[in-house]
């Protein structure tokens, strides 16, 4: 039976998940994702591939907007991917206690 494992939680993966999850229904192009996340293509695409392999990302071809231009890929999170993004965001937002001058700050 297929059981989706989580990808290794890296800063880059979390960045990408956060951007994709900001509007889950919206399909995004690779270069737009690169600009929104600040990830270079050599980092972004291996992450997209892994997320897709694990069933967290959908990818599809779209027809070119203008004749003569090549078709493009579009990506968005699956339901499982959205759940993973929520989980990662919740983990990232867990309060960190910092001790400063004897006072515990949340």
């Amino acid at each position: 039976m297929f059981m989706a494992r989580k990808p290794r939680s890296s800063k880059q993966t979390n960045q990408l998940l956060a951007v994709l999850a900001s509007d889950r229904e919206r399909w995004r192009h690779g270069y737009d994702l690169s600009q929104e996340t600040g990830l270079k293509s050599g980092t972004l695409y291996p992450l997209l591939m892994r997320l897709s392999d694990l069933g967290f990302l959908e990818a599809r071809w779209t027809e070119p907007e203008r004749e003569g231009r090549p078709a493009r890929h579009e990506y968005r999170l699956t339901e499982a991917g959205a759940a993973l993004a929520r989980e990662q965001a919740a983990t990232a937002m867990e309060p960190t206690f910092v001790k400063a001058k004897g006072v515990v700050l949340a």
Binding site: P7, Y31, S41, P46, L54, H73
Partner: protein, 227 residues
């Protein structure tokens, strides 16, 4: 079209050719984005990233193949042997297993275990067990390599780290150092024995760690996607 743009196009097209068959969909996606990038420098950086990804995927596919993983087991087993050889010799000495010592001694530079006796006398217990722990970790890395699990890299690095730390600690003992110096001192200098083999011995773990990473990166995700 500018020269930089032409180079970028050539690079993405090369990337598409290099990318393994199973990943061609992604190579095409990366390549087709190039037309949407207005600035030439950005297009070139995009193309370079694409080529790098393609080569990484191709090399990973090669290292992840069953025959190559099988071959990688050989240097791993060499590492295991290197970790436990001296320790086994020490145990054999302490247990009085002379025939075993004789056989092991023949495999050493000089071909005789007797010259190691001053060193065997000084080896602390913890150093012996550290060697076996290191060997066990490297062996576990081998098992994970067969299973194509990324934990192979962590296990291997842990094994090498245990060995390096143990080595550093044992050499803090002056008597041990002096005995080691005498045991490994040879009057005649041989390039292979005294230079090439020590350099190769130091480089092999680096080579193995890199190969393990390439052989196991992303493979679990791929395997699960295919199942």
């Amino acid at each position: 079209m500018s020269f930089v743009r032409e180079v970028s196009r050539a690079l993405v097209s090369h990337g598409r050719a290099v990318m393994p068959e199973s990943r061609r969909f992604w190579a095409a996606g990366m390549a087709n984005e190039l037309d949407r990038i207005e600035e030439d420098g950005a297009a070139l950086r995009w193309a370079l990233g694409g080529v790098m990804t393609a080569y990484l995927e191709r090399v990973s596919e090669f290292f992840g193949s069953a025959p190559v993983r099988g071959l990688l087991l050989l240097p791993l087993l060499f590492e295991v042997m290197q970790s436990v050889f001296a320790q086994t010799m020490t145990l054999a000495w302490r247990l009085g297993a002379t025939p075993m010592l004789g056989v092991m001694g023949e495999q050493t530079p000089g071909g005789d275990y007797h010259r190691f006796i001053p060193l065997l006398e000084l080896v602390p217990d913890w150093y012996v067990w550290a060697g076996f722990v290191a060997g066990g970790l490297v062996l576990a890395a081998g098992v994970q390599l067969i299973r194509r699990r990324p934990s192979a890299v962590v296990l291997f690095i842990a094994g090498v780290a245990v060995e390096l730390v143990a080595e550093a600690l044992v050499h803090r003992n002056a008597a041990f150092n002096e005995a080691a110096r005498q045991v490994f001192h040879f009057r005649d200098v041989q390039t292979t024995r005294d230079l090439l083999i020590p350099i190769a011995t130091q480089m092999i773990p680096v080579f193995i760690a890199g190969s393990l990473w390439l052989a196991t990166r992303g493979t679990r995700a791929r395997a699960e996607a295919a199942s």
